[in-house]
């Protein structure tokens, strides 16, 4: 519960009260105006929450207090007729915020639309600015909304693209999943999830020239056929200069380089789970890990949006590789742990769609922990398909990776794959290592010819 001393005021048309040092008087500012000095209205009493507790205590309508300090000491605060917003008054003169100017003052003789204000905590203020200035996926449909489609509108309305919500029925905002996700209530009750969209696509690329050539081809496809202009990172033993030298001229500098030592094939395969150690990764949603032998052959956006909307980590099903029998996807571990997985197939960990590290970093860390322990206890090469076996085991036991929606986007391919059957991603995992880069190059050339 926030006290008045931490409370800011939002006007009905979506401005906040700031201090104009030159004039020595308060002014109203756009919520997102840079460099404004906002003024808390001052006072020790909680007024913000209008939740169920207040409803039961019957104090929603009973607010009547005097502001002891701040810009207007002595002002009387009462609840407006909507049960949510406030009036501030000196005697019969009400605080008013004129939507046509930046002026605020106690000029109104009656309390009407422009004399209503919503109390905002600092956390709510920051979150509202975040909603207005970042990209979001709105509602169950996941409509992508950029800052140009977001605005404050009259009657305390927050517009995010197609979604308009009345802030009187949202405050204090539910920040339990902020900044990744927030629940808003359309019409005061219809639940509308809003999810942050700031994707990161990352690779783990180590070792010889063949792998690095695959990596360069994959990044090229991402930025051409994939139409992607967001963040890219690579976990690698190479320097930033070496990475840049591999990429087409236009892509130099686009890829964040995270240096790691990895000794051998096992280290290379396990490195993808080390993304949790890169602090910047925690600010992205979703994260998409790709093996270097994967090409984009269609727009990446639908897949990334689906990943951001997902509740689970997603990986494509490895058709025909049954969890109960295929060592390739962890059957030995499951059997050794007494699990009876029935008829389900495992997944290929070459593509991992991770909604966010805030929600799923623990799962990645657990996979890393088991890989590390297993290597120590049973030998570094005890698991031939190291990370894929353990990831399938962890998924089966507790994490429930989703193999449904992402399988529609990913094609596991051999040398005969052609762009005619493209879905979004093509993973050349059934091509021998020495042929892969050439096959990928050829595929890209055919894809370019089609465009």
């Amino acid at each position: 519960m926030s006290g008045l001393s931490e409370t800011w005021l939002l006007s009905a048309h979506g401005t906040v009260i700031g201090w104009d040092a030159a004039a020595g008087a308060p002014r109203q500012h756009a919520l997102t105006a840079p460099g404004t000095h906002l003024v808390p209205i001052g006072g020790p009493v909680s007024i913000q929450e209008s939740g169920l507790g207040h409803l039961l205590r019957r104090d929603v309508d009973d607010l009547d207090l005097t502001v002891p300090f701040g810009p207007w000491p002595g002002a009387r605060v009462t609840r407006a007729g909507d049960g949510r917003s406030l009036h501030l008054a000196f005697g019969e003169r009400y605080l008013t915020a004129d939507p046509s100017t930046d002026r605020v003052g106690f000029d109104a003789m009656t309390a009407a639309a422009n004399e209503r204000f919503l109390p905002l905590s600092g956390a709510d203020l920051d979150a509202l600015r975040g909603l207005l200035t970042r990209e979001w996926l709105v509602g169950d449909a996941g409509d992508l909304v950029d800052p140009g489609q977001s605005a404050m509108q009259p009657d305390f309305t927050l517009r995010l693209g197609p979604l308009a919500v009345d802030l009187r029925w949202q405050l204090p905002l539910d920040l339990s999943q902020w900044p990744n996700r927030i629940m808003l209530l359309r019409d005061g009750w219809r639940i509308e999830p809003v999810r942050r969209y700031r994707p990161l696509i990352y690779y783990a690329a180590f070792g010889g020239a063949e792998i690095m050539r695959q990596f360069a081809l994959s990044v090229r496809s991402l930025c051409t056929a994939g139409g992607y202009d967001g963040s890219i990172a690579v976990l690698t033993d190479k320097t930033p200069e070496e990475i840049d030298s591999l990429l087409p001229a236009g892509l130099a500098g686009r890829v964040a380089v995270i240096r790691l030592d990895a000794r051998d094939r096992i280290g290379f395969m396990c490195a993808r789970y080390a993304i949790t150690g890169w602090p910047d990764a925690w600010h992205h949603q979703p994260l998409l890990y790709l093996d270097t032998d994967i090409l984009f052959d269609m727009d990446a956006a639908p897949l990334l949006r689906a990943a951001a909307m997902s509740e689970h980590i997603a990986a494509p099903a490895e058709r025909g590789e049954a969890l109960r029998s295929s060592t390739f996807i962890g059957a030995n571990l499951l059997a050794a742990d007494g699990c009876t997985p029935g008829f389900g197939d495992g997944f290929n960990s070459g593509t991992l769609a991770i909604p966010s590290l805030a929600e799923h970093g623990g799962t990645l860390a657990l996979i890393g922990r088991i890989l590390t322990n297993f290597g120590t206890l049973h030998g570094r090469n005890a698991l031939a398909w190291a990370d894929q076996e353990v990831a399938n085991y962890v998924s089966y036991r507790i994490a429930r990776f989703d193999t449904t929606w992402i399988s529609r986007y990913v094609r596991l391919a051999n040398v005969h794959a052609t762009p005619a059957g493209r879905r979004g991603l093509v993973h050349f995992c059934w091509v021998s290592g020495e042929q892969r880069a050439a096959v990928m190059q050829n595929y890209l050339a055919r894809l370019d010819a089609m465009r």
Partner: protein, 445 residues
């Protein structure tokens, strides 16, 4: 900063006045000693994925430890997790059968191995060994798990090697901890500190029913835990209805309510009470409930559950049942398909950390709806709770349905399942039916 756990499950310490090294149980060190702290980043001492990628746990390990152990050579032991400290001719050893520490043996074995742990790891270990836990895979109950020899943590039938758990996984702390048996088999322990709570408003009948329900909870349900009562009544009006000498505390929380809407909504506000966060599970029951069998299996199952739980509504499926949100779902264009609605006469909350969000959302929608649409909509509270659950956090109706039975007057207590709930008649009649039923059970038990 790192601390050093010994093979015995004790902590390497230093006597304050003399500087002599000792080892003591970590939670009862005594005033004369302080834990020995190695002023090194814990990441350089604990083996992690980055070490695995490199294929080496020694590359970044400094050979010369700082502080009280300076002069000794620090090395990784053969288990790749613990550290040894070598002097000129012997290794630092934490002796068995006492608390002495010194350079005793020329070879390093268990007593010469020390496991580096962080302050956060120590706090989690303290939390684990000071509380009750359930082993999720077996249901085993462990009251205060033990640190044992060979770096073992023992919780009921589960034993794990702490060398392969560090740093401890705090993702779901303090509700749940994931541990790795044999270094890789996933096990989870779930905190067990149950709270049963009621809401009681207004009339005398509600308090009489509360008295019967609580009596059955302790006598027949064999409950050992705390009970909370949310009420608009003064404590003096409730205390006479509560039994004394039971193995649990009563917590009376003041909670105003002006009408049926408030009274029904109150169960969802438990998260407003900050102490609710320390319990796992939390179990709400209507006062018209008689516990007719041991409640422990139900509470254990709830503590280990991943979802909020409530018994299935006996009315038609969600798609057709107005009281259970069909109207709201229709208005919001959400097909409920074949999902069954729930009856919130019993509500199981595994913990507030993970499930407080959906409960808060129910409260928010209830509060908004009451202002926007009035407080007298038929079935408003249950309909809204079912709507929110269907849209955002589907409740588990299977778990509690097997324990909860709706009974009529004169029901036979031979068919008891755990909870008998009395509905659908006048309050005084219901109280009489509960009294009669409890009397029969007490005769049987």
């Amino acid at each position: 900063m790192a601390f050093l756990l010994t093979w015995h499950g004790t902590l390497l310490c230093r006597q304050r006045h003399s500087g002599i090294l000792l080892h003591r149980p970590p939670w009862s060190l005594g005033d004369d000693v302080e834990p020995l702290a190695l002023d090194l980043p814990i990441g350089t001492l604990q083996a992690d994925l980055l070490h695995h990628l490199r294929g080496s746990t020694t590359a970044d390990l400094p050979a010369a430890p700082p502080g009280a152990l300076s002069g000794l050579r620090m090395e990784r032991a053969s288990d790749q997790r613990t550290l040894t400290f070598r002097g000129d001719s012997a290794f630092l050893s934490a002796e068995g059968g006492g608390d002495s520490v010194g350079l005793f043996r020329p070879e390093a074995a268990g007593w010469e191995s020390f496991l580096p742990v962080s302050q956060a790891d120590l706090e989690v270990l303290h939390g684990i060994t000071g509380a009750s836990w359930l082993v999720r895979s077996t249901g085993g109950f462990a009251d205060r798990p033990l640190l044992a020899d060979e770096f073992r943590l023992r919780a009921a039938d589960l034993e794990v090697d702490l060398r392969f758990q560090m740093p401890l996984d705090r993702t779901d702390w303090p509700s749940r901890v994931t541990l790795l048996r044999d270094g890789w088999r996933i096990e989870q322990i779930c905190r067990y500190r149950p709270l049963v709570y009621y809401t009681v408003f207004g009339d005398l009948a509600a308090r009489e029913q509360l008295a019967l329900s609580v009596r059955s909870l302790f006598q027949v349900g064999h409950y050992h835990g705390d009970v909370a009562v949310l009420s608009d009544l003064a404590p003096a009006e409730i205390v006479p209805f509560l039994p004394s000498g039971v193995p649990g505390n009563f917590i009376l929380a003041s909670h105003p309510a002006r009408d049926t809407f408030d009274a029904r909504a109150a169960r969802y506000t438990i998260g407003d009470w900050s102490d609710a966060a320390v319990f796992q599970p939390l179990f709400y029951v209507d006062t018209a409930t008689i516990f007719d069998a041991d409640v422990t299996p139900l509470l254990h199952a709830l503590a280990m559950s991943d979802r909020l739980g409530a018994p299935a509504e006996i009315l038609p499926a969600l798609a057709r049942s107005l009281p259970a949100a069909a109207g709201l779902l229709q208005l919001d264009d959400c097909p409920p398909q074949f999902r069954q609605a729930f009856d919130a006469g019993a509500l199981g909350i595994p913990n507030m950390k993970r499930h407080g969000g959906p409960l808060a959302l129910i409260c928010r929608v209830l509060a908004n709806s009451a202002v926007l649409h009035g407080r007298h909509l038929p079935f408003a509270v249950q309909e809204i709770a079912n709507y929110v659950a269907t849209r955002r956090a589907p409740f588990d109706t299977g778990l509690l349905s097997s324990f909860v039975r709706h009974v009529e007057a004169g029901s036979d207590p031979v068919r008891r399942t755990g909870l008998a709930q009395f509905h659908g008649r006048a309050a005084a009649e219901r109280t009489a039916a509960m009294r009669d039923y409890l009397r029969q059970i007490e005769g049987v038990v």
